[in-house]
């Protein structure tokens, strides 16, 4: 039973303050939707919990069952039950998907998994997710389409059976059929011992995987919390209502008209 407690979390990326005091508690059997405009800290929150070295915690705490998560290495966090399906999964040429998956499964076992059992589990997951039969022999994510990479993240989640699964924009790059398959796999993973955190921009994702809790992050803080009704509100009204709360919306980046000159000097930006 994993309980994640985040208190007053402040995070910087390359000297820029992204999270400015996030409080959150995740208990088993809960599915938390993290919503908010681009560039306001959703992915930063998930990456920080997983321990991405790019993200520096400057204040606050993250505890997993009372243990200080920030002091744990990335692999210790994984072995403690955390999992992050990444928005942009890395390509690792030369390492076959099956070698990698076996290494990852063995990392959390005392005895290595038998080859027979491993192949059976892998084949089952590949069939269920309607993935390429040759997947096991292909190099990890190398040359995969965007949709294949996302499904491969879900495949890893199924094989690793985490306590707390964090999914960062798992629906982007998926067509309607693939989205349905992925959503079904996520729903099958829901159970009373497991919790999930989902980041997505789209209402359709949260119609397929219905959250128990919804949080809206704007400018590095949670500005609104509640149940699934918030998803509908955002779908119909966008985020403009946030301004009524006296909070400024952050744009992902400053928008400028595109001039040829800009392209030529792109290296400076």
């Amino acid at each position: 039973m994993a309980v994640l407690k985040i208190k007053n979390l402040h995070v910087e990326v390359e000297g820029k303050k992204i999270l400015k005091g996030v409080n959150l508690e995740i208990n088993p059997n809960e599915v938390h939707a993290i919503m908010g405009p681009n560039g306001n800290g959703k992915s930063t929150l998930l990456s920080t919990i997983m321990g991405n070295p790019k993200y520096i915690v400057t204040e606050g705490s993250i505890e997993l069952d009372g243990k200080d998560l920030i002091q744990m290495s990335v692999d210790e966090r994984s072995k403690a039950g955390l999992f992050l399906a990444m928005q942009y999964p890395q390509e690792i040429p030369g390492v076959t998907t099956s070698d990698f998956l076996r290494a990852a499964m063995n990392a959390r076992r005392e005895k290595p998994i038998s080859l027979f059992k491993f192949i059976k589990e892998l084949d089952g997951a590949i069939t269920e997710l309607k993935m390429d039969e040759n997947l096991a022999h292909r190099y990890l994510n190398a040359g995969f389409s965007g949709g294949e990479k996302k499904r491969n993240e879900i495949l890893q989640m199924k094989l690793l059976q985490p306590q707390i699964a964090m999914l960062d924009e798992i629906d982007s790059g998926l067509d309607v059929d693939a989205l349905r398959i992925v959503a079904q796999a996520i729903n099958e993973m829901r159970d009373e011992n497991r919790s999930m955190m989902l980041v997505s921009h789209y209402e359709r994702m949260f119609k397929l995987v219905e959250p128990t809790h919804v949080h809206v992050i704007v400018n590095g803080v949670i500005v609104l919390e509640g149940g699934p009704e918030i998803v509908d509100k955002i779908d119909t009204e966008g985020y403009d209502w946030v301004k009524e709360l006296g909070i400024e919306l952050l744009q992902d980046e400053e928008r400028k008209p595109i001039l040829l000159e800009n392209c030529a000097h792109a290296g400076k930006f």
Binding site: M50, G51, N52, P53, K54, S73, V74, D75, R77, S78, K79, F83, L84, M86, P89, Q90, I92, P93, G94, V95, D99, F100, A103, A104, A107, R108, Y139, Q156, L160
Partner: protein, 291 residues
């Protein structure tokens, strides 16, 4: 061919045939392959003549292992005759810090040669490898995987397009650690009149620590229009986002680094047809790269 090795030659001052199916002939320092077969050559010390000539008129699986017992200079020539299909795997297994100077000239007529070089040896070396594509239809694929750990290594690898309609591709990968140094010069040359030729190369080096030195230099020397040519080169440390990805699945940073580096060299295994050698090389990679 099923990957079995039918001929074994050991070069230890003189050329000795250990096993043969009589599909190869040796005349002085010339090794002639006249029918489809496979050949393993083990180099221990170089004969006085310093050079061997391989004349290949038929399909061949060629394995060459350097197990030198002292400083060595070798100048080999390979004549790949029309229609031959050659698959070649060269490995430096020399375990002591000798100096190696290897000059290879591979003359390719209307034939196909695929060559992989795996150098995890402890030697210092300055190697010059040239593939000369002599007649239309000549095709060469070269794949280098070199580890320089506390040693100094330099590789010049050239694809010389000396006729029209020739194809050359090379992928050169290096890892430098324990204050080692490595220079890889990739040279793609298309001579005047050699139109419709393709020459491509990628050179990549991963550097482990600050005391290492590395250079990956791509050269394209093209003296003809109507050709395809590309090159790329990079030198850098292991990508920390790749490591983060693997660690987030439970691998320790040591395991993650090993997996990425083994992955760097693993494609050379695709050049090995013999299952036993393939297995040995897999183990060797685990031992040398991880250890």
């Amino acid at each position: 061919m099923d990957g079995a090795i039918n001929n074994v030659i050991v070069i230890d001052n003189e050329i000795s045939i250990i096993e043969t199916d009589n599909k190869i002939k040796i005349v002085n320092n010339n090794i002639i392959v006249s029918q489809p077969t496979s050949l393993k050559v083990v180099y221990k010390s170089i004969p006085d003549c310093k050079n061997l000539v391989f004349t290949v008129v038929s399909d061949l699986d060629l394995y060459e292992f350097y197990e030198f017992e002292g400083d060595s200079n070798i100048e080999n020539e390979y004549q790949i005759e029309p229609q031959a299909n050659v698959n070649r795997y060269v490995e430096n297994r020399t375990s002591e810090k000798f100096a190696l100077n290897i000059e290879e000239t591979v003359n390719v007529k209307d034939a196909l040669i695929r060559s992989a070089y795996l150098d995890l040896g402890a030697t210092n070396c300055e190697n010059k490898i040239s593939y000369n594509l002599l007649t239309p239809g000549g095709e060469a694929h070269v794949h280098l995987g070199v580890l320089s750990s506390n040693s100094k290594k330099k590789y010049d690898i050239a694809l010389n397009h000396l006729n029209h309609h020739t194809y050359g591709n090379m992928d050169n990968y290096g890892i430098v650690k324990n204050a080692g140094s490595l220079i890889i010069n990739g040279i793609g040359k298309i001579a005047k009149g050699c139109s419709k030729s393709n020459t491509h190369q990628i050179n990549k080096i991963i550097v482990f620590d600050k005391k290492c030195q590395a250079q990956a230099n791509p050269y394209l020397l093209v003296d003809e229009y109507d050709v395809n040519a590309s090159h790329g080169a990079s030198v850098g440390k292991i990508d920390d986002q790749q490591l983060f990805y693997l660690q987030s699945r439970g691998l320790t940073s040591q395991q993650a680094m090993s997996l990425v580096t083994i992955g760097y060299f693993m494609p050379v295994i695709n050049y090995i047809k013999n299952e036993k050698i393939k297995e040995d090389v897999g183990e060797l990679l685990n031992e040398k790269v991880v250890g």
